[in-house]
Symmetry: C3
Subunit: 155 residues, 3 copies
């Protein structure tokens, strides 16, 4: 267990673990937001989901799409598309021995940018608010990927 104790003592790794957990919890919140809008607006995609609002033809009118629900779903998918690279590249970056303050700057910028992206998407704020959130997160991930490949490339 000695190595695990040491991994937990590694500050960059612990910082990555904390920020990754926060940004993943934020992403999971999107599922709740989708469920909330589906239930309050009575907008469903599966016939079995709206049986409590009526049966047969009466239920079919709830099988529809709604701007608000689709907006949350797009924000959720965009999260997935951007948080997956952050998790993979960030984990490997954390283990590659970067400077603590540089690593913290990357993690904080990413998490802040993704939270800002969600707020800009769901409000919605006028562009380029959402684009800014997107590109900061994107740039941070590429910066970690570049730092990894420059120093540690093994092909």
């Amino acid at each position: 267990m000695a190595d695990l104790t040491r991994l937990v003592e590694n500050e960059v790794f612990m910082a990555f673990a904390s920020y990754a957990t926060i940004v993943l919890s934020k992403m999971m919140f999107m599922s709740t937001a989708t469920a909330f809008y589906r239930l309050t607006r009575k907008v469903f995609v599966n016939p079995e989901d709206c049986t409590s609002f009526g049966r047969g033809e009466n239920a079919k009118k709830y099988l529809r799409t709604d701007d608000r629900v689709e907006r949350v779903r797009r924000a959720h998918l965009n999260d997935l598309e951007n948080i997956v690279p952050f998790l993979g590249i960030g984990l490997l970056y954390s283990l590659s021995g970067p400077d603590l303050s540089t690593a913290l700057l990357h993690f904080r910028l990413f998490v802040g940018a993704r939270i800002y992206h969600t707020i800009a998407y769901l409000t919605p704020l006028p562009q380029p608010n959402r684009a800014l959130g997107f590109f900061i997160g994107y740039g941070v991930t590429f910066s970690m990927a570049y730092s990894l490949l420059k120093n540690k490339l093994y092909l």
Copy 2:
């Protein structure tokens, strides 16, 4: 290599590795299910995929959507949205030195809940079967995130 040997000797990490591999293999099965329904029901989205069923106008009639295919695709996307947080949070949780029996309870509940979710989605079973599968998996992931952030927060 000493540390890797020790990581492999760590029972919580090995349990996580086993359950993560199982739930990811289950998720990959969804691609096969989509391909199966697309081929047996002749429902395609890309023109190049149905050239063997006819060319030109004759092929275009296969470019359509189908309830069954869309259902599998929704189940697949829901898997992605929930398994990605489990992978990230679960890996960090496994390395944070939890009690083995507590960790096993988390991993088993999650994998069981996701398999149940897939069965409930594809059959489809009446609600709240699918919702139950979803919320058990969701709760397990949040429980690991809470345990991580409570003990190891480093911001």
Copy 3:
């Protein structure tokens, strides 16, 4: 920090880190491709994204779908569905102490197959080019999962 130094000295792990970073960077490129086609073809899904092309009724005509954009989005989603299992299973496989040359064969085949899949999807090349790219990547991931579960199963 001794363990981290050793992890970085582990050749299989470093090879995994390099290939995972490459395939994730490739996946991130899909976001740029979507943005490129949306801007050059003036095809948007959010009203706030096309205000610079006109306001009110004038802007609404840009809220539409486009074959090219949808094709890039499908390729992106397929990447997510396949790269997530590769990341999870590949990381655990790398830590399970496989033979270096076997591991390299897996990583190279996967990354090559996914790049080929993207080219076949976006060009588009006639089938079975895309299916070939898909199934090689799929098979590589299952081969790593099988090797993990056979040797290291802990349930």
